[in-house]
Subunit: 247 residues, 2 copies
DNA sequence: GGAAAATGTACATATATGTGAATTTATATG
DNA sequence: CATATAAATTCACATATATGTACATTTTCC
């Protein structure tokens, strides 16, 4: 069950992140198609908690820096080491495609850092973007780091759906693809989940964290180059990852 | 009316900002005294939206960097000019008390930047902290920037409460205090709202934004020094504020 | 290795909550 | 300055939602 008002808080936050200017109750209500009274309650709640204020008279609400203060506190713990951002930054620059660091979230894989391609046609992904762990290159690069028992436990919760022609729709299919990936030396996906999207990924364990790096883009552009992209990823990780410790 | 699940999202966020480590469903439910099933729904919603993930197996949930990404996008608009942080930083260092930048939010005043005193006994305030606009030095320094009509409109919404012995409990009392403040050259408060708390504030208009600076601390320590603290604030603003333009 | 404890998940139901309509307040217009 | 129009609040009620209970899964402990 989705908790509507919880989701609405996030929607509002994203709304402000997008429009980047104060908005009145009426504007917000109209934008989302929410009743004014409901919007009123929500805004009052966020204001009361210190997350919204009125920067100038009659110009409406805008988030206070409290969001930022909280997010900073949260993120200063175990941040990703700086070289991982360098990594996807370099990869995106060299390949012209979108590169990301990905982490597990149950049966999904979450993008926790992204550098987008600058191409007009590109893989559009943002931090927080989620994809099925079993039907994506990045996700399978995570699964490779699991023990058999852990994988089984994940499999039990997966609802296998035919997202595309090549989506693995059974546990066996996934396991086979994992074995192939090991043999191949990297994970790949050709529209397994998103139409026209292809990508290459490799596991990226950092400390006891299970992460992966992925480079993805439109199939017609990146498709033929997947092997060399994979090699590039491996080389770049090798170059940037500190040799001394696990971190 | 307060929207409970909206507030809960913020609570969860603040919880993570405090504990700074992943937490399981059970831990979160117990911490807040929420039913497991409700907690489950909330966490599922936040996860689904890409704001929570599971950094390592069986270690529970933690916020994704998406919070930070959103907060950054929101805050890069019209950020406070850097000299305002310098201002409260200097003021806090010189006085040993807590210094803040404050903005209006209806009948309340919100702290939008804070540098805390390092003293053991101090005014504990965080970004997002809210106080009644009419019963605080910082709030009245905002009201001074309003037109009479705007002030009247605010007064109509205020519920006058006797927070402390010197709280102004009528429109006239507030207006008188505002006139006194003008004569005096700064706003002051002696436990008008918070027990044992005294402070000095002055208006700080920036562009068309109505802000104020306040220095506040325990009455016994800052009380006798309020006039000189006020003078210090004025001098420091004068020193740091760029002379050229309104920004 | 098996039982017990803890944790996570599903669902029907009572109830807390969102909302439409009414009221008040603010702003624009003649 | 009066009137019209739009925005912000309030409130009672129907309904969408949180939760108690039951079940499943995982982990711990003996």
């Amino acid at each position: 069950m989705i908790v509507r008002q919880a989701a609405n808080v996030l929607e509002i936050m994203e709304f402000f992140a997008q429009v980047k200017k104060p908005a009145t109750l009426a504007e917000i209500a109209d934008h989302f198609g929410w009743p004014r009274s409901s919007t009123f309650n929500l805004l009052a709640t966020l204001s009361e908690k210190g997350y919204l204020y009125e920067p100038r008279p009659r110009a409406g609400f805008y988030p206070t820096p409290r969001w930022l203060a909280m997010a900073r506190m949260i993120s200063e713990v175990e941040p990703l080491p700086p070289w991982t951002h360098q990594l996807i930054s370099d990869l995106s620059a060299e390949t012209g495609e979108t590169a990301s660091i990905v982490a597990p979230a149950g049966v999904m894989a979450v993008f926790i850092d992204v550098v987008e391609s600058k191409a007009a046609i590109r893989y559009f992904a943002t931090i927080g973007h989620r994809v099925p762990i079993h039907a994506t290159a990045s996700g399978r690069a995570l699964l490779l780091q699991y023990s058999q028992e852990e994988r089984d436990s994940v499999y039990r919760k997966i609802e296998f759906k035919q997202y595309g022609p090549s989506t693995p729709i059974s546990i066996e299919a996934v396991e086979i693809e994992l074995r192939n990936s090991i043999a191949r030396g990297y994970c790949q996906s050709f529209a397994d989940y998103s139409r026209d999207l292809a990508g290459a990924a490799i596991p990226l364990p950092i400390g006891d964290r299970r992460l992966s790096v992925v480079v993805a883009g439109p199939e017609f552009r990146i498709g033929p180059k997947v092997p060399e992209v994979a090699a590039l990823i491996a080389r770049t990780v090798d170059r940037l990852r500190p040799k001394t410790s696990a971190a």
